[in-house]
């Protein structure tokens, strides 16, 4: 059964697009035929993060309006064989999306893909609603910070009440918590909400923790999803996330402070 997975958060700037890029790449690396859709009409950025911005010719709105076929709008990813990108329109406004059009596209994609990842825009307006409405599962991206946690809770409420699964009375959308920008040393110092705190407040299963890292900026600078940056914490963390999503039992990493070596401590103390 093909799965529709929404990457959502409510709040902006918490790592939805970064996560969509790495998560969809990770799914594809494991052999799933995957497509990732940018729902942020008017403010598209997934193309930049995936490094395919110069290959965008058509977008999701062209497909919805029936101007071209879905196949013509799909861009093949440069890093993964099994991955395609459906970009958002940069020039139209967000009202160009509609539920019927989105449903038609998703149904057509389900014929040839295993995983359909929907990168939601921030907020709770129509774009975010369209991205989540047809979801089977949801990755709720949350920073260890009060406004992000509150907005995630709001999004969880909307998923539970207004998604298609909720409206049709089907089994509810399966929710996963993904904590990003996590700094274990600050948690230990009592300056940052811990994963346990966030989980206790939001009450949904934890899929993974992505540490705060300079790698993210390097990845976006170069247009390469962070999961491809070998040997980085972030790449490892995203690979764990994908493995857990596929049902593997992988222990949580990057949730305790790194042990500092004697020299580092000495230098740090200066």
């Amino acid at each position: 059964m093909p799965k529709v997975i929404v990457v959502t958060s409510g709040k902006g700037g918490v790592g939805k697009t970064t996560t969509s890029a790495s998560f969809s790449s990770g799914l594809a690396l494991r052999g799933n035929k995957t497509v990732v859709i940018d729902f942020d009409v008017g403010l598209r950025n997934l193309d930049l993060i995936m490094g395919c911005e110069r290959r965008v010719v058509y977008d999701i709105i062209n497909v919805i309006n029936g101007e071209i076929s879905l196949k013509q709008a799909l861009i093949k990813d440069k890093n993964c064989d099994n991955l395609y990108i459906l970009p958002a329109s940069q020039t139209r406004d967000k009202d160009a999306l509609n539920l019927e059009g989105v449903e038609r596209i998703l149904n057509e994609l389900k014929e040839s893909f295993d995983c359909i990842v929907c990168d939601s825009p921030a907020g709770i307006e129509s774009g975010a609603f369209m991205a989540m409405y047809f979801a089977d599962e949801a990755l709720v991206v949350t920073n260890p910070e009060v406004s992000s946690v509150r907005d995630s809770d709001r999004i969880l409420g909307i998923l539970a009440a207004k998604s298609k699964r909720a409206v049709d009375g089907l089994e509810p959308v399966k929710e996963h918590l993904l904590v990003t920008r996590y700094a274990p040393d600050r948690v230990e110092a009592g300056e940052m909400l811990s994963v346990t705190d966030i989980q206790e407040i939001l009450r949904i299963p934890l899929l993974g923790v992505i540490p705060e890292s300079e790698t993210i900026l390097q990845a976006s600078n170069s247009g390469t999803p962070a999961i491809h940056l070998e040997k980085s914490d972030v790449a490892e963390a995203y690979k764990d996330v994908v493995a857990r999503f596929m049902g593997e039992e992988v222990p949580m990493r990057f949730i305790t402070p790194e042990k500092k070596s004697f020299f580092k401590r000495l230098l740090g103390g200066l």
Partner: protein
Amino acid sequence: MSMISGLLEYLRGNEKKTASIAKERLQIILAHERAGRGASTPDYMPALREELLAVIAKYIHVDRDLIKVQLEKHGEYDVLEVNITLPESIRN
């Protein structure tokens, strides 16, 4: 907290950490926001509250702020809780 223990705490640098303040604040605001969401508050609640207040006001003179009407979930049951704090003068 006595002054001495307060002073000790201050010296030890044991003042409340911001992470636990954050957690407490979130738990309070989210409990409130969740209560006002979805099926947990039927749309007749505000009207019910107003009518209850009107009936009570006919017999007892109480401050409106001291009457709390809320619907809570206790396991399988929904409990309608009406909490009225009577003024001192009536209690005697």
